[in-house]
């Protein structure tokens, strides 16, 4: 087996995550898509760390995890706040970014 299989797997997972972000309307599921994309990159990092024999990739994956955790905390807090005021978790209900 080639080690690149891991990378291909990461790419596929990343694409699925991105598609989730584009297609789903529930903010929480969209968020899960983002998490999936992050995890896919982590897999790539770990694979490349192994490929190059360099631990830095793993370190970076570690940092991604921490940042992702922070991001989840804040993001979910925002979703909760929005849900509390608008009674909806659909991203399409929030179009204040309109130009």
């Amino acid at each position: 087996m080639e080690i690149t299989n891991y990378v291909v797997l990461a790419a596929v997972l990343f694409a699925i995550g991105a598609t989730t972000v584009l297609l789903r309307r529930n903010a929480i599921v969209v968020f899960m898509g983002v998490e999936l994309m992050l995890n896919a990159t982590n897999l790539a990092f770990v694979t490349f760390a192994r490929l190059h024999g360099d631990l830095t990739g793993q370190v970076l994956a570690f940092f991604v995890m921490v940042v992702a955790a922070a991001e989840v905390v804040v993001g979910l807090a925002i979703i909760v706040t929005i849900f509390r005021t608008r009674r909806s978790a659909s991203v399409d209900d929030v179009n204040l970014l309109k130009g």
């Binding site: 972000v21 584009l22 399409d92 929030v94 179009n95 970014l97 130009g99």
Partner: protein, 646 residues
């Protein structure tokens, strides 16, 4: 001469100071302002006579003196002094302006007695005298132009003197504006002439330009001559810029006498005579001057026969008489002296006629329609006699003054120029016919006013002579009308007097013997006068104007000059102006408006991309990544391909 030359600036100074005091002093000077005006004008007259007598006392060749007060304007090669040129020509004018001017000042004290704005009137009169003297005393075209415009603005102010508070106020103001604007049309000519002279000779001073005139190419001289003629036409109400003079009668009558008869309107003739050397270098321009003079001469005379308004009839007469002068000025040295001579005598008799008309109007409660006069000789004897003298003078009956000057012009017109007898015949005939028509309309005016047994007055009119302040000037002018020509004309005194300025005229024989010309003229004049006497003194004059022939109706309407101006100039000009206005709004302004519109249109277009939906934005970003990847790939491929090709 040089010991009194220092007085010369005071000729202009006295009236200018008078005008300044009266204008700035305001209502505080109301009580004595008119006497200050008379004093200023009188002082100028005294200075004028002192200078005149000193000039007569000096030998002929030393009479022309240039007196400079220092530099006025000096820049880029143009040096103009505040310089005065005193010579027989300008002194003639000085005496005419100050003497007649002072008489009219005195007359006005009484004439304007009841006007609340009498002080302002005298301020303007003084301003006019100062400007007129600047015009004639200037030693350069530029300084002449200062006076030229100065008399224009004084004329504007005086024509529109009654521009508020009267039923005709708006018409008066319009007449004033018309006069100024038409004068300005002429002024363009003077500006252009100065520009050409500066470009060719490098100066606008008489001392530089006139001697150099002979060296100008004929084309340049013609251009300058025609430009000067345009200026003269505007100022002297010559065809085709004559339309303003009739309307200018809206001003008080002393104004008409001083400005629109005796002095300002003759400035064009002065300009022509002063610029004689330039005209002589341009035969074409000379011919045009003669033609303009001849046309105006007949034009004014024809219009004069039909006017019922006494002032407008006199205005038409003025136009016609200036036509004579202009004709003479175009004849070269032979005519110059007679042009100025006629100008001088005309100044006296026409001022007298206008002041007489003023006296009649004063007596008849500002009535100007001659059909409502009649039989006034018994009630206004002094006016009758003095106007009678003026009437005889303008008819050219010997030995009254008009005979000496006008006959000289007619004779000069019959002299062939450059061996072209047709010109002599044409212009001579025109001059003689004009004299006959003049006799007709002046006799008509005189008898419609004074003759007839049955007065045609409106009710409640009790004509009587005005105060001595009014009739003494009439007497002076009447005496001048009667005797001036005899004094100056006999033996060619005046011609000799002007010779140092205008040059000596070689004597040429007219195409007809002189006695024949004189005889024929007199016969035609008497015929014209007799016809008028029969129609307006023997027969009854209807109170309402009859419809009249086509020619009469046309003459009443100034031979449709206003209509022609309206259709030929005003309407097209207004059309162009409308076009420019619409163009500015709809093309220029809106054209610039397109830029911001385009910007906001683009904004509106790209605004639609911003739906506000997060997922759209996310799709945009992801799509952008794809596009970038694609472009990067293409670039790499292309780069590789090129690299491979090399």
């Amino acid at each position: 001469m040089n010991d009194v030359i220092g007085l010369a600036p005071w000729l202009i100074g006295f009236p200018l100071i008078g005008a300044a005091v009266l204008l700035l002093g305001g209502r505080a000077t109301d009580r004595w302002g008119h006497w200050l005006g008379v004093l200023a004008s009188g002082a100028a007259a005294v200075v004028g006579f002192i200078l005149l007598f000193r000039m007569i006392g000096t030998p002929a060749e030393e009479r022309a003196v240039d007196h400079s007060l220092g530099t006025w304007l000096s820049a880029g090669g143009l040096d103009v002094d505040l310089g005065l040129r005193l010579d027989p020509l300008s002194m003639t004018f000085v005496v005419l302006v100050t003497f007649v001017g002072t008489l009219i000042h005195i007359y006005s004290v009484a004439y304007m007695d009841h006007d609340v704005d009498r002080r302002r009137f005298f301020a303007y009169l003084n301003l006019f005298v100062a400007a007129m003297l600047t015009l004639v005393l200037a030693d350069s075209y530029l300084l002449l132009f200062v006076g030229w415009e100065g008399v224009g603005v004084a004329s504007y102010l005086l024509i529109g003197f009654w521009d508020t508070g009267r039923p005709t106020a708006r018409e008066n103001a319009v007449a004033a504006k018309k006069a100024f604007v038409m004068n300005r049309v002429g002024d363009m000519g003077l500006i252009a002439a100065m520009a050409i002279l500066f470009a060719t000779v490098g100066s606008v001073g008489f001392a530089d330009v006139l001697p150099a005139a002979g060296g100008l190419s004929e084309g340049t001289a013609t251009a300058v001559g025609l430009c000067l003629l345009l200026a003269a036409c505007g100022k002297s109400a010559q065809f085709p810029l004559q339309a303003w003079l009739g309307d200018a009668m809206a001003g008080p009558t002393p104004v008409s006498a001083l400005i629109h008869a005796a002095t300002m309107v003759t400035a064009g003739v002065y300009l022509m005579v002063r610029s004689g050397p330039i005209l002589e270098a341009a035969p074409t321009a000379q011919l045009v001057v003669v033609v303009v003079g001849a046309v105006t001469l007949l034009f004014g005379a024809v219009v004069g026969t039909a006017k019922d308004d006494i002032k407008k009839a006199l205005a038409a007469s003025t136009m016609s008489q200036i036509g004579y002068m202009m004709l003479a000025a175009g004849l070269g040295p032979a005519g110059y002296a007679f042009a100025i001579f006629h100008l001088l005598t005309h100044g006296f008799f026409k001022a007298g006629l206008f002041l007489g008309a003023g006296a009649v109007m004063h007596a008849m409660g500002d009535q100007t329609d001659m059909r409502r006069f009649g039989g006034l000789s018994r009630f206004l004897p002094i006016t009758w006699i003095t106007m009678g003298l003026g009437w005889l003078a303008i008819l050219g009956i010997p030995p009254f003054s008009g005979y000496w000057s006008k006959d000289g012009i007619i004779e000069a017109a019959f002299i062939p120029v450059d061996g072209q007898p047709w010109r002599a015949w044409v212009f001579g005939t025109v001059a003689v016919v004009g004299a006959a028509i003049t006799a007709f309309y002046m006799t008509r005016l005189f008898f419609m006013t004074f003759g007839g047994r049955r007065p045609r007055w409106t009710e409640n009119q009790h004509p009587h002579e005005g105060s001595p302040l009014m009739w003494w000037p009439l007497v002076f002018l009447g005496v001048g009308s009667a005797g001036l020509g005899l004094v100056l004309g006999i033996g060619g005194t005046f011609t000799t007097w002007l010779e140092p300025v205008v040059g000596h005229a070689e004597h040429h024989e007219p195409v007809l013997p002189v006695p024949v010309i004189i005889g024929a003229t007199l016969v035609l004049v008497l015929l014209g006068a007799a016809l008028a006497f029969r129609m307006y003194a023997v027969q009854l004059v209807p109170e309402e104007a009859p419809r009249g022939s086509f020619l009469t109706r046309a003459a009443r309407r100034d031979l449709y000059q206003d209509a022609a101006n309206e259709t030929l100039v005003v309407l097209p000009a207004h059309g162009i102006a409308r076009l420019v206005q619409v163009g500015d709004r709809d093309v220029v302004d809106r054209g610039w408006g397109v830029l911001p519109l385009a910007v906001s249109w683009f904004g509106a277009m790209f605004r639609k991309v911003q739906t506000g939906y997060v997922r759209s934005y996310a799709a945009g970003m992801a799509g952008g990544v794809l596009v970038i990847a694609l472009v990067a790939w293409l670039v790499v491929r292309l780069g590789a391909g090129l690299g491979g090709a090399q």
